[in-house]
Symmetry: D2
């Protein structure tokens, strides 16, 4: 059984070179600022051996036959795709948001497929590199990130047209034993507390852009890597402890300042024709994953909305019931699109399954279009209290604590503590930097709605629909 | 092979007792007013032997092993559910709208499941009746309808509370050889040109309402049955012939004026406890079917919109591209929900599979909420011409025909005839009684969005979502 | 008092040269096909002397001091703008839709303003022509149309780039006594039963397009004019007479086959620089008018929805109440935008007031975006009956009439006739060619939402908003 | 001239009794935690004498003839209503959000009207109290709050049905020289740094609820008053100073622990019949004000969105242009509704004008429904950076500052500092507790959309709309 414990994971982090920057300081990876984020990852290790989750959360390695974390697995069947989606929903519910380890899994699957396709087309040897890396990854129950999004500079220009060529990460030197890369990847969730960084291109590339066609994996503390972070977590609690407030995340702008990558860790280097394939395939896996995690967010918003209504004594108000039904519809349409993407999934030449791009994009699109709307529904039901509830410290101040408990009461059979806990949860979930970050993540994580629309259009047989109408209207070309 | 031809079907209609009323007259079933509707049904017979469709459009009877029309089949697997949905989409595209024969198939499946469940619970013998009827239905490639919706009178009252007890169809007499029923079923598509009427309850029932718990099948020209119709079809063409304009439909208010039904054709009689089960199960099958037909309607609207833009010379206008993408999203979310409903489908005690109620409802809901929006998108792209295009007769008037052809021109490489054909199609599709009827059908057919929302809520584990939030917030009951 | 009666108006129509084509025939203007449309116009004459409406429906001529129809008036104040909007709403409610005579009034105002501006800029004499025409128009209580929209050919090309230069109406000859024009104007409501056609350009023009910069007024039966029509009216009734079904309209494609226009009827000829000004100014007036008529349509849809709910016995259902509130919001936001456009209106050099373009466009935009949504709300409340209700003829057939009356009953205290009347009204309003046409009119009449968005953007000080943010963010350029 | 300076205002605050609680501490009103909030109020004093704003920001007292702050004025005309709305928009733009002093002005207007109406009905003397208070308020350029919303307990119960009667503020004792009140008011923006609290009822009341029908004004540091606060302000800056980050607000739960109010400061006491009138009239004024402030928020979101697109090099992308147009439409419809409310405003018996309730509610409703949607538009254009941008401290860390500046670059002609400033502004505006609070304020401030819908329905003549349809359909009762 190739499973680590959360403590083993955290322990290993402490041994890494310090290259993480938070709030103006360079920190070591045991800094308390990273604890909420690390707690989320620890939960993924715990889930693997928790009977409630282990069936989903583990898989059997097709390389070694060993029991491994599903987060280190590649999809060998439609069933694998379906379980991945289901697991994502279930685990996200328990931490109240992003489970984070899916990103690297999605990157692995993408790199696995495309390294094989490059080899098939070019006679290269990338897929062997990949398989060796995968075996290492599975055996050591590695935590990886996916470093895809370049900082991108002027959005109206292509990579090779930027004034500063480093605005998309690129190869600056090819050596006998490896390559040297320079650039920066943005929005790198999990990177500051990951073991490995998995790097891949962000977009389609032209023949001038071979240097930008690069994919590889390296330890997160490799020389030349700098992780400049923004930590996001719910407000910490003094006494009103709650599971939600123990979790968190951090994103980094990950700078690659002439970083050396040995050849055995390179999965693409120069094959610009397959840049788009890899970029979109990762997107496909990741959008499919969103069809699992985003319904979990909706589950939480829905549960909070229903509980707010119940505690307020208006649990049966028809307008609230309608809004909650709206949340159900959103959650299940997104989830259904993920199921359809799985069911219509196909095996690639590597034996890895990819979900149907049209459906993974459609599901992610709907999720992205609705995240603010969902917060709106919760806010509308909550009333203004999540915005104006005095901080926990006031509830602990004996001079005024009694007033706060007296006046927060709603239905007589719900204690003031419960009301306090619920509204503070909603406040932390929505009237907080963390809430704002999650709104942005809901829009942009895995690709913005506008990107999915482009993806949907590109994969839709519109001509066939025109032909249907020509037939019905009696138009012959 | 138990397949009829369209001509055999039409020929049999001519032999039926005249009990169809259209436009103030009692007509025989070969009246030309019914021709467009009959053409649609004929197409379903043609499809069964057309290599393009036959694989989907046929199935193997589990009773006889014979090849039968899928419209006479009951679902024996998840695969059956998926093929039914796919077939529905494909066939609807070819007639430009409702394929109609699905309704009876959905009713058969519902009656098949529930007749068994009643027998299991009550020791009755309905399922044998059903199987005998099904065998007859399959062998003779029968065209049936589903007569479900009662006229319902005062919507704030239950069936037994109505001032006129006939406002929901009911048993008025039980005899040794059969039962006598009275009432009327509304919105009965296909009934005026069907062989058989399949009747089932419209809602949940209470113990006072045993007389309303009745399901049966009888020939459509049984004594006492009156079919009072509204025919809906695109405007007929004089010279500008087009496939779309050859099809149509008719709905009837079907009056049962003390109609005798022999016991062997009765599938439920008095078992009010299972009224809701049968009503909702038919709804479930039918909403699942909508997840196939409704995307076909969207396909047509999408194709027309794209073609309008192309002919107008604005095929690449970004705002139109966005709208078309919206249509893609709607079509595929509805379809995805249908797939999810199939994949999560379950076998019943009868061996017949039922789709997952939550997903069939979610898909149908989205379709119903968007039908007017889709017409809006098409209209916005079309401009005003579908509303003001002079009738075909003017195009045939030599005094003005040349003007019309001169001034209808758009892009020089698209002939005026093509432009004329497209805009007349769109006009017939949307600026017509037929278009209005299809908008209503899009909202209400198979159950209105409000009904689906109720269905979704009733089948959703909201308490589990509240519990997720209680856990995260640290609330213990 | 310069007011005609409806009969005087209709009488004059009979004396005009027959150049109207309907359904393949050339007809005279007393043809019964035009009667519903003519009835609508007759109502505008009746309203002028009806105490309920006359205060709004009349104005005092600033030329003669006489009492005139407000439909022949030009706006001399903000008050005039407000009363015009209010009157439009009130009168449209009474005919169940478009009151039609506003279009010419909007054209007159536009031509009045711009003819003066051309004279000011170019030293021409158009405004005198206008004033003489206006005096004639007022004295004779003339019914005019506004012929603006060209047929436009390839939408990606400008007028002078079309393969056929006539696809935008243009001057083909300039003579000493007048000009000769050729082309066709589309979607010309009221033209087939108007006294005069008022013609104006449809868009901005370039210096190559002087020939397309032309505005004038001529009698509708001038030689060379052909009015090829589509008549739109609710289904006619045999016995179940109702005001709604007595009204209607007709649109023509109006062909100008080398039509001579004397100079005294020309208001612009060659001044391409002011083409956009006139096109947009007419649009401005007409969109402002829409802020009156469109709320009337919403009033009717709202009233029908509320009555449907009441008769069905679900008048207090919360989801229907919410939908009706939505209709209230739409109606009043559109109306409020019209008020704001009036209040922010400004006098032009001619002394005529123009409404604020931003607000007239914003109001019209919202109306255009919602028309299908409003039909949706009505349909959702109505249920399927408007789509499947058998024709009036069946209700008159003694063999089945009793069944229909028995089974259409809803609440016991609402007679079957009332229910019949209401559902037939809703069916005629929405499940009819007339309904489809009104949906298109709701989207495109007065300019499509996309045109209003363009208008809004063009008139919005976005730079000022950027500057606000620069200030707040501390960005100095 | 009765105008104070900001410093005079702040100076006076320091002399007040400390009864403000923030973050677990009791503070004095010169605590730095309150500075951002106080800065906003100071700006209102500065505006009164700033030539850019003074014409709007000042008014002439109808009591003394002196020049006073418009925030201390009551509306004596339609013009006053219009200027108030316009001023609100203009001033809110400068502080990047709520200008706060409007609330007390709205309360004053409400109390002014209703105190007169009570006197008229009951022969009481409240209006004199009001006028004396108003004169004091104007002469001293007072800063007031409006304490309306009770904490409300069980929302399914009325005030007198609550288990704890104090859950709505009430009179617990009537004395010869005044009254004693107990309870708490929630969401009291400005209260912790206001001179005076103006208290009024939150809802309609029944005859059992005379004790809850109470309105009065008292100094904010009156004995028994406790202000338990939540401070909301953008993150403070170390070096990257920006106006936006200097402003803020604080809300309090204001506890009245048996507070004595002298009779001359009481404006209502026991007249439950007018409770609803006063509650709704304040709501009316405040919703009208929202028709000014909310468009300012949209202005800022719009400007930020446009600037983000510009800096990103996609300023002309069509999908962004469409979204910005959407923001324009929202802003101007809300503003138009405010104009309509002013224009349709009416004088009350006190001589004070009240805006039209239907339009003020319609405008506020639209604003409340769209606030999350607007944040969504901004976020969609911004991309993920506002969520992941490292804190200012990292930009000040010389070890990594250069990387951050290098990789934040977008268009080459926009400096990294400008990009940094813009994205930090957007991050502070939306990925912050302050942003979340403003979302809630946008939904609930001045009354939630659901409250406005109720208000709209209650004031809408739906019966008249039914009658229109009855007429058109030929239904006679």
């Amino acid at each position: 059984m190739a499973l680590r414990t959360g403590d083993q994971y955290a322990e290993k982090l402490t041994k890494m070179q310090p290259n993480v920057y938070v709030g103006g300081r360079k920190i070591t990876r045991d800094d308390e600022l990273l604890q909420p984020a690390i707690n989320t990852i620890k939960f993924t290790f715990a889930a693997a051996t928790d009977p409630e989750f282990s069936e989903m959360a583990c898989a059997k390695s097709h390389l070694t036959g060993e029991t491994i974390s599903r987060f280190t697995h590649v999809h060998r069947s439609i069933e694998d795709l379906m379980v991945k989606q289901e697991m994502t929903r279930v685990l996200c519910r328990k931490v109240g948001g992003c489970i984070q380890r899916c990103m690297a899994a999605d990157a692995l699957n993408g790199v696995g497929v495309v390294s094989k396709e490059i080899d098939d087309a070019k006679g290269t040897n990338y897929h062997d590199n990949f398989l060796k890396f995968l075996e290492y990854y599975q055996k050591n129950d590695v935590v990886g990130n996916a470093a895809q999004t370049d900082v991108k500079g002027d959005r109206s220009k292509r990579p090779h047209q930027q004034e500063d060529l480093d605005l998309y990460l690129r190869v600056v030197e090819r050596k006998s034993d490896g390559i040297v890369v320079r650039g920066a990847k943005a929005h790198n969730t999990i990177a500051p507390y990951a073991d490995e960084l998995i790097v891949l291109p962000t977009r389609n590339l032209t023949k001038e852009e071979g240097d930008w066609a690069v994919a590889f994996a390296i330890p997160a503390d490799t020389e030349g890597v700098k992780l400049i972070c923004r930590v996001s977590a719910p407000r910490q609690r003094r006494e009103l402890k709650a599971p939600f407030n123990t979790y968190g995340m951090a994103d980094s702008m990950t700078v690659f300042d002439d970083v050396f990558v040995p050849w055995e860790r390179v999965f693409m280097c120069g094959e610009w024709e397959l840049g788009a394939r890899l970029a979109l395939l990762f997107a496909n896996y990741h959008r499919h994953t969103y069809c699992g995690c985003k319904p979990a967010v909706t589950d939480i918003i829905m549960g909070a909305t229903a509980l707010l209504a119940e505690y307020n004594g208006v649990g049966n108000a028809s307008h609230i019931r309608e809004e909650i039904s709206e949340l159900m519809v959103i959650a299940e349409l997104v989830f259904a699109a993920g199921i359809a993407a799985s069911v219509k999934g196909k095996a690639t030449s590597s034996g890895i399954y990819e979900p149907d791009f049209l459906y993974s994009n459609t599901g992610r699109y709907l999720a992205g279009k609705n995240i603010y709307h969902e917060y709106d529904i919760m806010a509308a039901t909550a009333g203004g209290l999540p915005a104006t509830i005095p901080p926990e410290d006031d509830f602990l101040n004996p001079e005024i604590s009694e007033y706060l408990h007296k006046y927060i009461m709603r239905k007589p059979d719900v204690s003031s503590e419960k009301v306090h806990r619920l509204f503070r949860f909603v406040s932390d979930f929505s009237c907080s930097a963390f809430g704002g970050v999650n709104q942005y993540a809901g829009v942009h994580g895995g690709g913005s709605p506008i990107m999915e629309k482009i993806g949907i259009r590109a994969n839709y047989d519109l001509e066939a629909r025109k032909d249907m109408v020509k037939y019905l209207a009696g138009i012959t070309d």
